[in-house]
Amino acid sequence: MAMKYLDKYPKNLAKSLWVLKPCWAVMKLFAKTVTHRSMTILYPYEKEWIPDNYRGRPGLRFDKCVGCGMCVRMCPTACIKLIEVPDDEGKPVMRPQVNLGRCAMCGYCAEYCPLDAMTVTPDYELAEYTRYDLLYGPRRLNYEGTTPGMEVKLEVTLPSDIENGNPERRVSFFDLDRPELTDSKCIGCKKCAKVCPVNAIEMVEKGVNDKGKPILRPVIDNSKCICCSNCVLDCPKDALQIKEVL
Amino acid sequence: MAEVLQKPTVEEIVSKLNSDCPCVNVTRTETRRVYATAPRENSFQVCKYIHDNLTFEHCSTVIGVDYVDHMTVVYHLTNYYTGVMIELSVDIPADDLHIESVTPIWEGANWHERETWELFGIVFDNHPKLQRLLTPDTYEFFPFRKSYKLRGSE
């Protein structure tokens, strides 16, 4: 490797005729832009091409969302809030609402969405007259023409896979980690079953206790679970813990 | 004075520190990294030794850490010939937050020490200008201490 610029410069300025060479450089561009168009884009009339994965405002596919609250937890600016809205059949469901006045367009909500219901959208013209207008409800977050390119997949390779000589296997971040029950701490309060957005937790009777009441223990359906850790956070006795597979 | 090493290797640094500065405790080493601790009383002499005899010309940072029961000042020192870094931690008791300034050795530590003083309240003795730098002059507290709680903390 050699120096590209330092080999040629500094030059003897008398050889480039003091100021004539820069003038010549400018004239060259002038001749070019008189006949061709200049680099500027006439913004409101022309727009730059942007790829699908452009991180504009977040978009939401209402039907796919289960209201797990992963986006709320991951949002670094705390601009997402779960609100109750009626779904297509009129049933109240929890869906995210985004305050775009605070949104930093980091794309974490789309990345950490277990079901890819949240996407990034190439929509960046977001000016409104009032701050209230910047609140995007779940229905308004819908973006017409969401393509698969707008989904942000969170695929990881396990360190154990690399060690085992299987480095090309990629798994979804949400397929591995599952909540694990510490049986001694559980009091059978059913909270986890209530907060589970995909109904993966079922309370199963496991015998009776001293007073003759049934002992309820959550049983987690691993195929349904999306690893949103709602049950972990809501457990009053810290009986559930996410077991991280590495 | 002892001999001056311009391009010391990690082993040489460790042996030198062990022989010439017995107060320094080298905790661990890695490739091009030496981690050491020193008592507060000798920190200035140790720094001067590292600068003069081991040719560590550059002081990357002076960091304050609040461990509640004590505070720690961490110096990161660089040798420009080999790229070796020494991390020198000096513990300070929480009731007597004083340490000798290294600004006379490395001028570049000046602002780092000012910053550490204003955010943690660690007083650097013999510092040429220990004034507030980032925060307004009217501040009467040290915002980076653990005792200073953020309003919106989760």
């Binding site: 820069p22 450089a25 400018v26 004239m27 561009l29 002038f30 200049s38 680099m39 006439l42 | -």
Partner: protein, 390 residues
């Protein structure tokens, strides 16, 4: 004298202004005065005819079309005409700078109406609508007078530049010197206003204006004297005619022309010699405390001075309004303006390609480069003159 006035054409007779005993330009034909005179004949004649219709035989009608009134009103319209043409040509210069600068920087330049020309109008309206503020601690009198005088002097100099043999204000024998004298007054006022504004940036800017003037004024005057020596006159018309008879003076005086170009750039305080403004370190230099309309006028004054510099170059070295082998041509004014725009294009080029020089550098350049060059140029001209070439 009793005259029968029946039709409007009896009132509007289109006299020859040269035959008017009050003709102000002695024996040279002046086109703008002619236009103004004729315009007044139409306007005043129509008014006089109307008044005469209602009050036949009244003295006012006769007064309106008499020789003295026609000359007076013709002069008023003449002034307006001169100013408007000069003003519009300045706006064209402004537009040209914005467009060319944009192209050279790979952007589009102004885009508002008429290929961006109306942007000047929009800017003017905007600055005029701004609040007219003055800082509390400025020296009021000098603060206000300096800006008025700088703008006024710029307009004066701009109007005094003749566009052709028939388009001039005064036809002095020493016209060149008078223009240069008024032109060189501005730096003094900049210095004074720099003091008056009670601001450190302005003060340094004002000092720099004086420093700048010291460096370029002397070589510039030597160059003008050289050209006058070559032509044998300080009269602008004579200089142009002399070039028409021989060759454009840029050919014998190429060194002088280049030096004069840079001096003229410095005179107009444009990049690379805009050290009095120097927005990188002095915010806006001596204009820092001038806001709104005042700033807009100063900016306009700058461009007026820029276009005067270009006109001077065209007069001194590019044969003014004449063309080789053709001479005066049908519309010499347009030829002259085009030449000065060409010179201004090179000023834009320089502005686009170069950076701002430092104060010590401009002094060095002025005294160690421009001064010897202008003296060398003088020597060449002297040799040519003595050798009998010119």
């Amino acid at each position: 004298m009793v005259q029968e006035y029946s039709s409007i054409l009896d009132w509007i007779v289109f006299n020859d202004p040269m035959k008017n005993p009050y003709y102000p330009f002695v024996d040279t034909y002046n086109l703008p005065f002619d236009i103004g005179y004729k315009l007044w004949e139409i306007l005043g004649g129509a008014i006089a005819w109307l008044i005469n219709l209602i009050f036949p035989g009244n003295p006012v009608s006769t007064w309106l079309v008499c020789d003295a009134t026609s000359t007076l009103m013709g002069l008023l319209i003449f002034m307006l005409l001169i100013f408007i043409i000069a003003f519009v040509s300045t706006l064209i210069v402004l537009w040209m700078e914005r467009k060319c600068l944009g192209r050279m920087m790979d952007r589009r330049g102004t885009m508002v109406g008429m290929k961006g020309f109306l942007q000047c109008v929009a800017d003017g309206l905007k600055t005029f609508m701004k609040e007219n503020t003055a800082p509390k601690k400025v020296d009021k009198m000098t603060y206000w007078w300096c800006v008025s005088l700088i703008v006024g002097l710029s307009v004066l100099v701009l109007c005094m530049v003749p566009l052709s043999q028939r388009w001039f204000v005064v036809d002095y024998q020493t016209g060149l010197l008078i223009i240069m004298a008024f032109f060189a007054l501005a730096p003094f006022l900049i210095l004074v206003s720099g003091w008056a504004q009670n601001n450190k940036y302005s003060l340094i800017g004002g000092m720099r204006a004086a420093e700048l003037m010291i460096s370029y004024e002397v070589p510039m005057l030597i160059l003008i004297a050289t050209t006058a020596l070559l032509a044998g006159s300080f009269n602008i018309g004579d200089i142009v005619n002399a070039q028409n008879e021989t060759v454009w003076y840029i050919i014998p005086q190429i060194i002088g022309a280049i030096t004069f170009f840079f001096c003229a750039t410095a005179e107009a305080e444009r990049v690379p010699f805009d050290i009095a403004e120097a927005e990188a370190e002095l915010v806006e230099g001596w204009q820092t405390e001038y806001a709104g309309m005042k700033w807009g006028l100063i900016m306009l004054g700058d461009y007026m001075r820029g276009s005067v510099s270009c006109s001077m170059f065209a007069i001194l070295y590019l044969g003014g309004w004449t063309l080789p082998f053709i001479g005066n041509g049908p519309i010499p004014e347009i030829v002259f303006l085009l030449k000065s725009y060409l010179v201004f294009f090179f000023m834009i080029l320089i502005r686009c390609a170069l950076a701002r020089v430092r104060t010590d550098q401009i002094l060095n350049i002025g005294w160690k480069v421009f001064m010897p060059l202008s003296v060398i140029n003088l020597a060449i001209v002297l040799l040519l003159k003595v050798g009998g070439v010119f």
